[in-house]
Symmetry: D3
């Protein structure tokens, strides 16, 4: 069930049976020569929604713009400041908690979001504690990164041995090709496999990785690979979701 | 062009010809017995994207959750606090302005967003002025509400005479039916036409409008009406966009 | 009754009979060659206080500095950032709500304040809801712009046909001349009637409207016209106030 | 010169000769049985404006609501949170500094404001430093409490020996009687002289000082005493202002 | 008792007998040619902890970085913005108040902190009042500056007649020499006694006081003087603490 | 070199040779029956300072209170809200960056801090980018958790096989015993080894781990083990520091 395609009465009915909700969160930022700017939001949304379908869970609206300060030297990249993203997540959870949702399961598409999401969970807990003390609802927030789901790593190693890299990966580009076959892009990769490593701020990122990729060869991306990636991720994450909502 | 389906190189190329971008912004909130919770975000996104197609404009990611404090007594409604939405809009515009976008054209789907959006424009201007003074880019922000576009009102009066109302309207429900025919809902309307009027906070809203509608009979919504609504809105708004980006 | 001229015991007594309060809010910004920088605060204060006298309502302290980012290229203009004004209005209302005031009737003198005031109302509602839930007081906030009061437009068209404009208007300048006859200024108007139109940020405003006026000829302002303006506004707004506090 | 009664051209002319401005700041809070809720704002405004007249200084709009959290158990008292007042002062100074004002001389009417005002000065300095570094204007902020002006203490000891106290004092009530003779209130004082001491939060304040006074007998207030108080304060403070703006 | 050297069970036991806690707060900023950057934090910590020992009070963690915007032209100086320090103090007090601490006794080592600390107390009171209303705990916050403790001034006049000054004083440098004899520094003083006076922002401070001292000759500092300073301060402040926690 | 034990001239001299600084950051929270509330701050400080000594690096003041919302059901625990800690780290880095520090190496003692620290790094980068654009200094921030340093895990497995756990571990308790032998506590452990697992908010934490430990038997802690732990950590982390400051 997709929250945005429900009526309020349908949500009310759902809450009689479950307090769980899947929250896709991604980013809107450069993904190399042939990757879409929306890659991380698309991956989180596609996988999050299929998780919802598989697990019978409500799925909330995708947070499409995340924390991508380090990508800002590439045109089209967008970012919320960490403090803004913290407030957004706090407001999303607080809104839904008013209605009785208590298990928030964030399916994340962007590594750069992880710290702020985790920090936001505690901002939520702190605020609920301050406002309601012992009467606060038993709100619990969890985070899964789709690329870390059981089965996904093995599939990546099978499909893209040694060239998965860590940004603008063939895996994530494949997922977007599967989701939006009409938007498959091709571009030369120079070098074929991008350099690997870390980075600091946005200027440092661009200096080290002039076309935006880190350690990857996304020219190997294919829609059918994306389908398999999604299937693997959904299988693993649906199971994690079920355990999360059933946990005592 | 949809920003999230572009590569960064495509955005870079676009910016050589245009500094304009369409920014859809909606809300995620109850829309009466047969209206979707995502109604306002769907309308803004569908119309915003077709405006982009018609006008050759880049279209940014939809802000799906807006300011809907007054709907919070209905399950599934979500809201950002006005201060949070202000920060979100500021960060969206600031991010894109770094790349050279200068004309931000917000296509809005929710009346409740209007004050905060307009306030945010001045937060943006104030911050750019503080940071860059006389060297600040010539950033301009505009807002159009799709239901106020030329031609839309007349069409509503033709299709839904006297029962358009002001929330959970047959017009907006029709647009969502056109966009998501698989999610058309039916529900009895009691009374057939909802009461009209104003409201204050969330409790007051629910007390006055127990099923969420104001002044409307959305049982008259039809996908084909939605299609006509979208066409009318896109025609009017595309023209407004063109004038906005061409304005001296 | 003016709050600042009451003792606390008088306020306590007032609250036994009424929960309503008039809140004047203006701005401190350029108003063209012969308009005072305090024009909007003066108009809101004069009219708000006479509304209080007419309706037997308590009148709070005037918010004299509002949101005027777009006037900042003219010396003497002051502005709060929208986010600051939001906090100010929230604190004003929250303070008075602690004592039992529940009907906040803002009489506004500046168009640029409207979005932020309206956004602030929902910040107030959101905060009260978060803090007190079902036990929150029934706080209601309303906004009237004095120049939109019944009777004011007709009077303007009678006195200043075609030259009212939208900033530094002969109407508002007349009100300040009535209020402060010792501070009537005269200055040549070049051109006699200022150009009309919209604007974006502060630099854009000054470029389009080099002396600060929009569409107006405030040389026609007269104290006696101001008196009539005030009378018309007070009549209309007092009636709105009464209906607001009596509304179920 | 009062900023709100100037045109922008007059402000522009003033700035050619002086960079100084007097900023009155008060509070809106209980002042005992016969004191006005606006006492502190009235005192700051009356004295600040006469200082401006005496010293040829521009006078800005009065900040009428200050930090009065500790008075909130008495009806009609208003307060900004310290963090809000910090932002207000920062925005006031930042606005005027854009036009070239560089010497901000706050004339304060409320002891409870002192910490927040002083903290705000450093928020201003920090922000200017961050934004402009070595190019920041030489902005300087000073604070004077009118009741500490040379000559004021001696006059109080002469007029109200041993019963001045520290809140709802006969001195400040006298100043308001001088300023608003039409709003002179009388009320029995029980006991005649209020108890003295400190306090913590609002509940503690009311418990210790049930009618709002601390250590004072404001029944001795007289308009003519107020006139003398104002004269003494203006003489001392005008001199302080002159030295402030002339300081290297 | 030092909070950081207790177990939680020891804190629980302490709270059965006392609700008081000593909170040292200092600064990390230049202290002239021979003064340590940590001078103010060291003084507050040493004296605060000995006060705790003398009075049997729990002592919380030292706030080592305070408000030192005006020292930022000297390498190594650190500062929190006033608004940040406000939030820090609010969070410290709010955390400990959750466990039942109700008497917060700040021992301060830096004059520049005073306004922000005092403002923060009211931010705390305002927040507790908003969150808990009549059920709020009876939280009380007090501030003492160690150099103003009874006996300290007399000792300074005895040891450093006429050369105590107001920044980088021989008294505070002596206290750090007593606390950290391994870190005694020597440096020429030119002139021997620094100029006296006030200052505005950081550039103004450095211009007036090029080596960082104000009015002092800290070459007279000696560890044994520091010991006497600490003894005098602890005697006076312990007594103040006892009265604070016993106050009705 | 310890920043707080330097003079400003010594810092100025240091900056001629290095732009690096070690920043210890810990937490003040329950650490089980025999662990100190300051455990995480002590570990970070002890190790951070020895890293500084080993690597010839400046060491800044320890952030002693971190993000510990989940420990708030245990007396004595303190926490900053994530948003406050974000601001603190931002201000620390911004202050030191003004003087020319560019390599900030955070040595962390508390897992709960990690997300907020990492989020703060991007808040810093975003702010520097906004303020200074292409002229921003090349500020780089890194984070190491001392318990993840090379060699530390192996030593823990040797000393505390199978009972290290993840909170109130024998390793960290040993470090504090080494640092503060006068504050070694003993307490029965029931059960001897605490249960393992995850947790959500503070109430959930206390319900699952009633004495505060997770998976550990800290009764095995010994000061001499702590010494070895510190040595192992310092060796590994000093090397990481050197590579960090030498990185191109």
């Amino acid at each position: 069930m997709l929250l945005h395609l429900c009526t309020w009465a349908e949500v009310e009915a759902y809450l009689k049976n479950s307090k769980g909700i899947v929250m896709p969160i991604g980013s809107t930022e450069q993904h190399g020569p042939n990757g879409l700017i929306g890659t991380d939001a698309i991956c989180a949304e596609v996988i999050g929604r299929e998780v919802g379908a598989a697990a019978g869970a409500m799925v909330g609206p995708t947070i499409a713009v995340g924390m991508a300060v380090h990508h800002m030297e590439f045109p089209g990249s967008m970012t919320l400041k960490p403090s803004t993203l913290l407030a957004v997540i706090r407001d999303y959870v607080a809104s839904l908690a008013e209605h009785g949702f208590e298990r928030f399961f964030f399916v994340n598409g962007h590594g750069g979001n992880v710290p702020t999401i985790r920090a936001a969970f505690y901002e939520v807990y702190a605020e609920l504690r301050a406002l309601k003390g012992a009467n606060a609802p038993d709100v619990r927030c969890a985070l899964v990164n789709w690329w870390e789901a059981p089965g996904v790593g093995a599939l990546s190693r099978e499909l893209f041995p040694g060239v998965e890299g860590s940004h603008a990966t063939p895996s994530e580009v494949s997922v977007t090709q599967y989701a939006y076959p009409e938007a498959i892009k091709s571009a030369p990769m120079t070098p074929q496999v991008a350099p690997s490593g870390g980075f600091h701020d946005a200027r440092d990122f661009r200096r080290r990785y002039p076309d935006g990729r880190i350690g990857s060869d996304p020219s190997l991306a294919r829609p059918e690979h994306g389908r398999r990636m999604v299937e693997a991720a959904v299988a693993g994450i649906s199971d994690q979701y079920r355990r999360f909502v059933e946990e005592a």
